[in-house]
């Protein structure tokens, strides 16, 4: 019996930003199901807790036109997760799904379905949005005030839980009648199915939820917002929180902050897992790993990507500049509308940022491309398999995280090295499972007790 804290691992399917290197000769289709199947099976081979997929609602634009330089196009999140339920047995299936451009009844129905189809392996990364750019693709447009994003999200999650709770686990009885009394018996016990009658500031939902109680009752709720409101939502509702804080001290500060918020809402530390997203670059020696990392970062920032990145800060056309030359001498345009739409990246004070970059580039003799590589790519964890396994273990034992969301830089083979070389070392250290428990739900795999609302039975 080990007393060591266990490492939890999530596999992030490579996304539609320049972390994903599509120019790699082994890179395959980002939309073919075979890529998803390979990725999922491989993560399952490494006994990962779950795989994770982000959501797309509109293609990114820059200077009023589609952004061409990164991977573009991805599947519908729920549809691909359901298909993956058909080719995996143990790994959790977690997707990002909006609370702004979905309705609770439909999304709760789909998530309950995914939980049934996967025998209890569904998870939901709850995200909010409110901007008119994405809203343009939906019935109600940019209807939601920015300030109400989290109000709607919180009521959405509460209502979804109400819907999932409305069927008691034993509601389906399927008691057929006898030959003598063929019409006796019922398929379901009506008294064990409660109608929902919800009236709140955001939603009015009345009636019988269409899906019987699913294996996990509630899919595992994940949250990723880093703002104050996002962290509060996580503390109240989430069971897993994704974070961007990967430096050790920063990660531990975040961990402590979220843990303190948990206590304020009457939850304990073991009810929430904190998983920072990170990239991992492996080498046979430290120097080899560093060399690989440099090559990857250079591939992530092509000449065209370097210019496009600077344009987001300068907010103007910089296509005439030489990426191997010095930074632009013009000032950022702070008065014009943002030229980038469809992704989050706002510099608070573009002029100050531009000044500091110019100074750094001059001091370190960096070209435009060098500078963009330095400021836009994160090396993440770089080292030999054993040094990386030791580092992951340290983060978890010293409560800087409960594990990591592993973000590979190529699709679909980017995770293979980690599974082949790092996972066995974590297993040797006794901090990562060597096999899944038979028939475990995602919540059981994560070692979570479930949300407090998840442990009470509401009488019908």
């Amino acid at each position: 019996m080990t007393s060591k804290r266990q490492v939890h691992l999530a596999a992030h399917f490579p996304g539609v930003n320049n972390t994903t290197v599509w120019s790699d000769e082994r890179a395959e289709s980002q939309i073919a199901f075979s890529s998803f199947e390979h990725f999922a099976r491989n993560a399952e081979r490494g006994c990962f807790d779950f795989l994770f997929l982000a959501e797309g609602l509109r293609l990114r634009e820059q200077k009023g036109r589609l952004h061409e330089l990164d991977v573009v196009g991805r599947p519908n999140t729920l549809a691909i997760l359901a298909a993956l339920a058909g080719v995996t047995e143990h790994i959790g299936l977690v997707g990002t799904l909006q609370t702004t451009f979905n309705e609770p009844l439909e999304l709760a129905k789909q998530l309950a379905t995914l939980d049934h189809l996967s025998d209890g392996r569904a998870g939901w990364n709850v995200v909010t949005s409110s901007d008119a750019f994405h809203g343009a693709n939906f019935r109600r447009g940019g209807f939601l005030d920015h300030a109400d994003r989290y109000t709607r999200a919180a009521e959405f999650v509460e209502l979804a839980r109400e819907l999932w709770d409305s069927w008691q686990p034993d509601a389906v009885v399927a008691e057929a009648g006898t030959t003598a009394r063929p019409a006796a018996g019922a398929f379901a016990d009506r008294s064990r199915i409660r109608d929902v009658d919800h009236h709140g500031p955001q939603f009015d939902v009345t009636g019988t939820f269409p899906v019987p109680r699913s294996p996990q009752r509630h899919p595992v709720v994940v949250q990723a917002g880093d703002s104050d409101e996002g962290r509060d939502l996580a503390a109240r509702h989430a069971e897993v929180v994704f974070s961007l804080h990967t430096e050790f001290d920063d990660a531990r500060t975040f961990y402590q902050d979220v843990t303190a918020r948990l206590e304020r809402v009457g939850r304990s530390e073991d009810e929430l897992l904190v998983l920072p997203g990170a990239t991992f670059t492996l080498g046979d020696t430290q120097a080899d790993a560093e060399e690989r990392s440099r090559a990857i970062r250079r591939a992530q920032v092509s000449p065209a990507t370097a210019i496009a990145f600077l344009e987001q800060v300068w907010n103007r056309d910089l296509s005439a500049y030489d990426v191997d030359g010095p930074l632009p001498d013009v000032e950022p345009d702070v008065d014009a509308d943002a030229i980038t739409r469809g992704r989050v990246r706002h510099a608070r004070d573009p002029r100050a940022l531009a000044r500091s970059w110019r100074e750094r580039a001059a001091a370190e003799h960096l070209s435009i491309r060098d500078l963009v590589i330095e400021v836009s790519t994160r090396g993440g964890f770089i080292g030999t398999p054993s040094s990386i396994a030791a580092e992951i273990d340290r983060y978890v034992q010293e409560r800087a995280s409960d594990g990591f969301v592993v973000v590979p830089h190529t699709n679909p083979y980017g995770l293979d090295d980690f599974v082949d070389r790092v996972v066995p070392l974590l297993q040797e250290r006794g901090v990562h499972r060597e096999s899944y428990a038979d028939g475990a739900t995602l919540r059981e795999t994560l070692g979570l007790p479930g949300h407090v609302l998840d442990r009470q039975e509401v009488p019908a």
Binding site: F33, G56, L117, P210
Partner: protein
Amino acid sequence: MTNRPVLVTALQGAGWHPAAWRVAGPAARRLSSLRHWREVVVEQDRVGVDAVTVEDSFTAGPVDARGDLDTATVVGRLDALLVADAVAPATRTVGLVPTVSVTHTEPFHVATGLQTLDHVSLGRAGWRIQVSPTTREAALFGRRPGGDDAASLFAEGREVAEVVSRLWDSWDDDAIIRDVTTGRFIDRDRIHDTAFVGEHVSVHGASIVPRSPQGRPPVLALAHGADAAAFAVDTADVVLVTPGAAGLEARSTLALVRDAEQVAGSDLRRPVLADLAVLIGSSSAEAADDLAALDAAAGTPFGSVSDAAVLATTVADLVERIADLRTLGYAGVRLRPLRIPADSTAIARQLVPALVTAGLRADVASRPTADLRTRFGIAPAVSRYARPTVPQGVPA
């Protein structure tokens, strides 16, 4: 038209008869499991049934005389699109046609969900388009009062179908270029702005999903009357009708669709499938007895409440009926098994071989795999945004 009858099996719960769950055995208790759906669909796939449809609704089930949920029949269901996705990897040739409503849903999610099914199934996706008319469904969303008349539901549905179709076309086949020299992953000139502003729905920009194998998965619509036939002609590639019910002859039911095509000024003759609810026995007498037993358990003869003709029949009789419908101009049938798995199994294991023997279908082994549009005998989808091809060797 295809040179053989199209055969589609309609899946729903434990079957279409309200008392079917009573004879389903252990399956009745696992209707919400992937195992159940995979077993049922794989059986259809193995023998080369052209497609399965999966019913759906936002309600938990039908209501009884008092207006409350009728728990004497199957209640509770799974989302049809996700069921189709989950069984896709286990199947190889069968078309997967979930019902997805256009009334309370977001067209963008409908479009991308079906495109993803088409990617996952390598070109076997279809869409049974449906409106959700009841106030019960409206109350579960709480966005509008419900009780809209058919005309406005269909008007909204036409807009949604148009938006979905545009989104499906929004990426050219060759939009992904992966050009390392210029650093461009896509050629944005090959991705198109759907730019649709309607009364009910609007969409800007393109789909997030690259063009799927079929481009536009075939759309199926069920039409009982003239207004629904007009809606089907406007939105669907394949039309389902219910001959033999409500005193309608097979010939006049088909005419409903052909008339609607004429009114719409459409030159296309859409494949029309006859919906038949079937209980298959080894003899007519056995089938009649089994149906009588089910009807007794339900308390009402199913034939008096079903929208489609209810047949307690034999394989030989069904083969004959399908041949007759072909002669009248039907493309084929959609069979609604009264009992699942009993009658769905009979369709796969008995009816299909009998159709082969009768020369009405080719043996599954000798048929090449094809996408679902081909199986329905409809032309490949050409994108509305496709660039006109410049003839080779002709000076511009």
